[in-house]
Symmetry: C2
Subunit: 298 residues, 2 copies
């Protein structure tokens, strides 16, 4: 496999997620921390205007605008549509990218700890997740397979379908030192991994690991008029990646009653009570617990 | 002392603090929960436009616009200026208010638990704090004395300088069930207290209690160009109302170094890493630990 020569580290795809923005800006001022011997690290703030307004986005979520179809659709002209095309010109173009790999830094208000999100089973990318987890055993692998050209995440712009570091809980619009340090540590391991890959000095990695695969988004309880009439149940709040069995409490209605999980399969929650999804009335994501393998076609 | 005939319960002074908004809307649909026999409860959503945009405010913080001077200044014409004047017409006017008492529902991203904020030592108001705390011993009293006509909080619109319920931690823009239930419980105690006051059935309250009095806001570390270059120190994060001694860590700089508290007096933190104050580069408030008394002129 050919070596990687250029890696983009991106913060501020969501303008109110301060951690990645401050970390990228700090790396700009201390380049010795972001550079490695075998490749060049480019540092990017993705949604500067949303950051100035301390908002996730101006017109729509930037991190849903990177499918090849949307990037080449001239009718998409809003701010984030345009930012996506500008970033595609800067880092891509997606069909034949200049940049080999994109590492994208995000935070969540959910209690997801350090989550490593990757959308491909390419051994280079899955190996990065296993490498980071070998140094940070508390980190969780979050697998969301997507065909790279169809994938609408920024991480899909590079030659490989890249890597997203998602750390929480932290409210929008501020820095928490613990979340900042976790993000920084995970990012340093990612860069070390690519350097080790390039120099043929990778350590032996476990062949398998537990991961969680996204299955569906779950809506908050709504009245007939669309109003939210329930909340994530107290027993589920902050319980990301824990099992939800049939009959377990899912929501507490505003009148105090409980709405249970009515599915037949045990599932696992993620992005539980994520503030950014509240306007879409999304309460959590259901995940399937799986085993990923460096050598399978999973 | 004359009885109270009208009490306003207000949510959504800050448009992205969902708890008060949903609680007020729920009380509108279940009036039996908000009404008491001896007075009328009016239910108000204060900043509807900011709520529609899921923002704290449109032009400026509504909860700083209620001084008598500003309410009567015709040159203040922005959205929140106008909302304040409309609320003054609806609930006041401040110099001779129709409404006797305002209870204002807020949330914070800081780990302040259930905090009861009052700006006067009037026995009716301070008695409410002591009454609520007698039912919720974990609640903290937060005293911030202000002359009512000069006070710029919404709670100052009523005949008495009112009462603010501040519960956290909860990110902006969502409901947490635990925070919702705490707020609801504290509010019910407030309404019960006024009903007991009106019907001469108040229980005996403790004569004294520990409270925290606001002294100053503390800025985050800044570079010469104004950029934020530090965060609340991990040992101070979530440590609201705990002692900060001279030399204790206050901030962690982005380069990893520590900035200690350089004052000579022990202080106590509140609103530690409150997201709403981040754009003003405010890291926390310093508080003085005091004793309040129902019978003193404190």
């Amino acid at each position: 496999m050919s070596k990687l020569s250029t890696v983009a580290v991106v913060g501020g795809v969501h303008g109110n997620e301060m951690t990645g923005i401050h970390l990228v800006n700090h790396l700009k001022q201390t380049p010795e921390n972001g550079q490695r011997g075998s490749f060049n690290t480019e540092l990017v703030i993705a949604n500067t205007k949303a950051h100035q307004h301390n908002r996730r986005y101006i017109d729509q979520d930037l991190n849903r605008q990177f499918s090849q179809a949307d990037l080449t659709n001239p009718d998409l002209t809003d701010y984030e549509h345009s930012r996506a095309k500008a970033l595609n010109a800067q880092l891509g173009p997606k069909h034949d990218p200049r940049v080999d790999f994109v590492i994208d830094l995000h935070t969540t208000t959910a209690n997801m700890g350090t989550t490593l999100i990757f959308n491909t089973n390419d051994p280079l990318v899955m190996g990065m997740a296993l490498y980071v987890q070998s140094h940070m055993p508390h980190a969780t692998l979050f697998y969301h397979p997507q065909e790279r050209l169809e994938d609408n995440f920024l991480t899909s712009l590079g030659r490989f379908n890249g890597f997203l570091i998602e750390v929480g809980p932290v409210p929008q619009g501020l820095l928490r030192a613990d979340v900042y340090l976790e993000t920084q540590t995970a990012l340093m391991h990612c860069l070390d991994y690519i350097d080790a890959f390039n120099t043929d000095s990778l350590p032996t990695l476990p062949n398998e690991a537990v991961a969680y695969q996204f299955t569906e988004k779950v809506r908050l309880p709504e009245a007939d008029n669309g109003d939210i009439i329930g909340m994530v149940h107290p027993s589920l709040q902050d319980a990301d990646y824990q099992a939800i069995h049939p009959g377990d409490p899912l929501f507490m209605m505003l009148d105090g009653s409980t709405k249970p999980y009515e599915g037949k399969q045990t599932v696992y929650g993620a992005f539980i009570n994520e503030a950014a999804y509240y306007d879409a009335h999304i309460g959590l994501s259901f995940m399937e617990k799986i085993t990923v393998s460096l050598n399978s076609d999973h």
